[in-house]
Amino acid sequence: MRIVVAIKQILDPEGITVNRRRERIFINREERIINPADKCALEAALRLKDAHGAEVIALSLGKPAADDALREALAMGADSAVLISDKALAGMDAPTAAMVLARAIERLAPFDLVLAGQTAADTGGDQTAGRLAELLGLPQVLQALELSLDGGRLQVVRLWDGKPVRAAVSLPALVAVSPLAPPARYPHGARIMNAYRQMQVSVWTAQDLGLTPEELTPNIESRGQVFPPERELGTVVEGPPAQMAGEILSLLRMRRLI
């Protein structure tokens, strides 16, 4: 079984603070990580590999620094890694990125399963998986929590509008793994060294994928950022418990938390 896992390297959101009053975004700690949901996708692939044997190929579209993300994937247990990196690919929008990834995945055919994280923790984007499924002509199962293989049929526990449900699909298929899925294993120290010293990351360029400049022209523009209002802190109320419970529920309703 061949499993392709698409991963993205992002700036760790934990190292980023937003100052609402000054309407600015501060990068306190510039740390690059594998997008958490993509890491869950890698873990899902590796569990299938552990149980049934599989070749796991990690694929990333990004800057040269994404090499580190792919080394981490190799250290976790991926068998090979491909980095798509090219100056021509800088500043892509979501539709273009999906198209480039699809080209690369086609180049890795034949494959039985494509896995990707459902959501990107930095941009909040969650359309790539569905786009890939359409471009590759694959059935899709999104928001997956647990995957298991039963014959040639993939059994998936996934979320549907917040509730867990069961689904099944025959391979080949594309599955988007929820960030709420089991977190990934830690790579063994020796494996990390091995990933850098002895394993290879293939690098593909736009030309390797036969991409033309017209195809790579971004079409979506940003009109700027908007910051939510500053939190008003320090309101204190006092009274009998029933009344206080009412106050709390009012606030929750107003904030659309319930």
Partner: protein, 348 residues
Amino acid sequence: MDLDFLQSLMGGEEMAAAETAYQDIWVVGEVSGEGLTPATRALLGKARDMANALGVYVKGVLFSAPESAGSEMISYGADTVYLLEGAGLESFAVEPYAEALARQIESGRPEIVLFNATSLGGELAPRLAARFRAPLFTHCMDLGIDEAQRALLATVPRLGGEYYEILISPSLRPQFATVEPGVLPAPFADPYRFGSVERVTFDDLPAGRVEMLGPYDDGLPEPPLSRSRVIVCVGRGVQDTEGVELARRLAAKLGGQLAGTRGALDEGWISEEQLVGMAGRTVRPALYIACGVAGAIQHMLGIAKTECLIAINTDPKAEIFPYADLGVVADAKAVLEELNKKLDNTPA
């Protein structure tokens, strides 16, 4: 009303010369037990406002829905509603649904297609957008129109909602967007609005290749606390295990998880995995209810990125109050009991 007449009213030549190939705003709706979902109604209201600004029609789309749902879409602002039906559309399967919607879009050529950011919208929208090589803006918190460019302005959340970005696609059409349920205002229905409801039947849709097998009852492992959206935290101030149990029940009712302070851990009320703070987990929930928690710095460091902090403590000088969106001076156990009671009485 004839579109040419509308266009001439709005200062026609420029508009006619502009994008006449794609026109109108479509809303893909969803139906629950009592008709349209509230999110669908809100989406229609917004679509109506935007369509008025552009001088175009609003068209609703429903899958395997009753005529009454179509009429309801009219009352909330749609001019025409397409009821898509046929073999394969009886219950949700993304491939036949996407094919049916794609054919409808090919013939109708809308400039904007809106979905709710539900699982249905999240499944359909990306596939349609890929098929049409079109832009898609997901989880929009607001929508607007740039009248100069005749384009959708989509406000999308970044960094989990810590700030928002406004996006626009000046030229590609159609423009697809999914809108976060509950962010748009509830509109008014006008039962006297005119419109037409059309049944569109498909008889040669591809079969869906994913089998939906029903609810998963076996219980999933709890996601790690750091990914929880709602957390109810207990400190020593909840007094005893009864208080902890009330907090646990409240967390379950709110769809969240129980956590605790170092004090709660020492009392044996929580496990290490549930400890929040410098020595424990860092969390970034949308809601954090701190019950009987004093607010020591070691704990506060773990919850710096909370969106809404509610603190309940008998001590009006508790350190936590200046950091809370709402501070409640009361006995935490008693308030927890009342919260559970009130939530039990409210229909879901």
